[in-house]
């Protein structure tokens, strides 16, 4: 029986595309969840979702220029992310509209622009589905290398500027009195979120991106009261969910992006229920 279980675990791994897929979801899970910790603490989930959708026109333009090569997609996505963030900032500050309205406007507009542009290409239109929902089976070795390098940079950034981001997130007023370069740090955080989204694009796609950013971090938030531990837990949950999700995708013939997200969500629900049970036990024992 054990041999049977072991066999089921090892069987998919004999295929190179599954190995690459596993590595991809591992990398992506770890990076997304760590960045996601900030997003959960700062209430940026909607913004993160919006940014993920708003990079679509950048990808479309990168596609039109580069014809499917990965580099232009990346730069296009970064450019679109920058424009979107600036746009959101401009609308929120320049009008009496609230930030979440500004986010909604920019997100929908950019996303529609992306869809429109992709539809003009009229060939390779199946790639729209890949951008929206992920294409983890098609990850190449150079994709993996890119993910590892960029992911490393993001994690490095979080590590290097740990105390700065901490102060900025917890007490912006302290950041101001200590004269931290707050604006640059905000831009840096934004940049890191954008890079993370671009890295994760291939595994879960635009539509499901926010889930891998937010859900593991949210589960970790419920579990611990220390930030470094929260990040570590989030990364672990995300990595494990990614791998389990891929296995589910393999054996149940389910889209991999969806399987990964559902696994993340399942983890969250388990943690949530666990906490509720724990709380009730504590009340009863009083």
């Amino acid at each position: 029986m054990m041999a049977g279980v072991l066999d089921s675990i090892l069987a998919p791994l004999q295929y190179a595309f599954m190995q690459r897929g596993m590595l991809a979801v591992l990398l992506v899970g770890i990076v997304c969840a760590t960045v996601g910790a900030y997003m959960v603490l700062r209430g940026m989930a909607f913004f993160g979702d919006a940014l993920a959708h708003a990079i679509l026109p950048g990808i479309a333009i990168g596609y039109l220029i580069g014809g499917g090569a990965r580099e232009p997609l990346f730069w296009g996505a970064m450019l679109a992310a920058l424009i979107s963030s600036l746009g959101i900032g401009a609308i929120a500050k320049g009008t009496k509209l609230r930030e979440d309205t500004a986010i909604g406007i920019v997100f929908a507009g950019m996303f529609a622009l992306g869809i429109g542009l992709i539809s003009t290409v009229r060939s390779y239109s199946v790639d729209l589905a890949h951008f929206l929902f992920g294409d983890v089976l098609g990850v190449s070795n150079s994709d993996l290398l890119r993910m590892a390098i960029l992911g490393g940079l993001v994690i490095g950034g979080i590590f290097l500027f740990y105390k700065e981001f901490l102060i900025l997130s917890f007490d912006p007023l302290l950041a101001a009195t200590l004269r931290l370069p707050a604006r640059w740090l905000e831009y840096l955080l934004l940049l890191m979120i954008a890079v993370t989204i671009v890295i994760a694009l291939q595994t879960v796609g635009v539509a499901l991106m926010v889930a891998v950013l937010v859900t593991p971090a949210a589960a970790a938030y419920l579990l611990t009261r220390r930030l470094p531990l929260m990040m570590a837990l989030a990364a672990t949950i995300a990595a494990v969910s990614g791998i389990i999700g891929l296995y589910i995708s393999y054996y149940a013939n389910v889209a991999s992006g969806a399987a990964i997200v559902l696994t993340c969500t399942a983890f969250f629900v388990l943690v949530w229920i666990g906490r509720e049970i724990q709380k009730r036990r504590q009340v009863r024992s009083l």
Partner: protein, 315 residues
């Protein structure tokens, strides 16, 4: 679905304005010498055959441009206009053009719609063609619509086309029939040539792996086996699952497949990965569409190119 929504919205706004415009089409048999038949063909392949039968006598418009995937094609308002104004529409049929039904509904069916594959006995990729049957393949598959891969089927096309044109444009009927007949000679020659070429490939190597299943009629006619496809479906619209890819790689290794053939209308990304993982060569061919000019500007060139590629890769 995301991607159809804005097209439908644009379409609806166009239709409501278009309905009020006066129409100048003449129906049925033309009387004026200046009135040429307005013909719409769906794919470039159908269009090429129509051109060979109709010669210069008609105004021909192709819906799916060269290089565009016919399975996921999305028509524009201009296409609806052309269809509305057309006298006759030639489509491949056999389930290839999934976009035709909504397009025709939007355009209103004034034109005569001819499915050029009428009368061809349609085939499914036989189970024995896929010895390690790719798991998870939905069994709701209909028939392989890529009938033109066997030139003998294209001969049936010429008959259907000539008949339809003759009916609508009686004065030129004899011309159409003559053109059709002459083109059938070319097709017969093509058939013989392919048989010769195929003979160069040893039996054991006659294995075809493609980006989606297109070679049913070709394999049947010329003695090849379809081992599998990246997307195990007649359409490019599906996504392969992990198990399907795994089964394909197993099949490739098991049968010592020598090449994977990818078409010009689909992103070869996934195929590239499978090819490099199994150490198999990725060979480009033309599948759903001709090219503008060489090397596959006409159906005959298209078949020549593909057969040459197959022979080179599998010899």
């Amino acid at each position: 679905m995301h991607r159809n929504l804005w097209i439908y919205l644009l379409l609806i706004s166009f239709i409501s304005t278009g309905c009020s415009q006066p129409r100048m089409t003449s129906r049925g048999g033309n009387t004026a010498e200046s009135a040429r038949l307005r013909v719409v063909a769906t794919t470039t392949i159908v269009a090429d055959v129509v051109k060979n039968v109709a010669g210069d006598q008609v105004d021909l418009h192709v819906l799916v441009p060269a290089g565009v995937d016919e399975h996921s094609f999305q028509y524009t308002p201009e296409d609806v206009a052309r269809v509305t104004d057309a006298d006759v529409i030639f489509m491949n049929g056999a389930g290839l053009e999934t976009f035709m039904k909504p397009l025709l509904e939007n355009a209103g069916q004034h034109a005569k719609v001819v499915s050029v594959s009428d009368g061809i006995s349609l085939k499914q990729a036989a189970p024995e063609d896929e010895p390690l049957a790719q798991k998870g393949t939905r069994s709701v598959q209909a028939y392989d619509p890529h009938v033109w891969m066997d030139p003998n089927n294209v001969m049936v096309w010429t008959q259907n086309i000539a008949a339809a044109l003759a009916e609508l444009d009686a004065p030129h009927a004899s011309e159409y029939q003559a053109n059709a007949s002459s083109y059938r000679q070319n097709l017969a020659e093509l058939d013989r040539w392919i048989q010769q070429q195929a003979a160069q490939i040893p039996e054991a190597n006659r294995q075809l792996v493609t980006d989606h299943q297109i070679f049913t009629y070709f394999a049947d006619r010329y003695g090849f086996k379809q081992i599998g496809a990246i997307i195990p479906s007649y359409s490019t619209e599906a996504e392969p699952t992990a198990q399907q890819l795994a089964a394909l790689e197993d099949a490739i290794r098991h049968f010592g497949v020598k090449a994977i053939f990818v078409g010009n209308t689909v992103n070869p990304n996934l195929a590239k990965e499978v090819a490099s993982d199994t150490n198999v060569h990725l060979t480009p061919i033309y599948t759903g569409s001709l090219t503008n000019g060489s090397p596959a500007g006409t159906y005959l060139d298209y078949m020549h190119f593909n057969v040459d590629a197959i022979v080179q890769a599998l010899k």
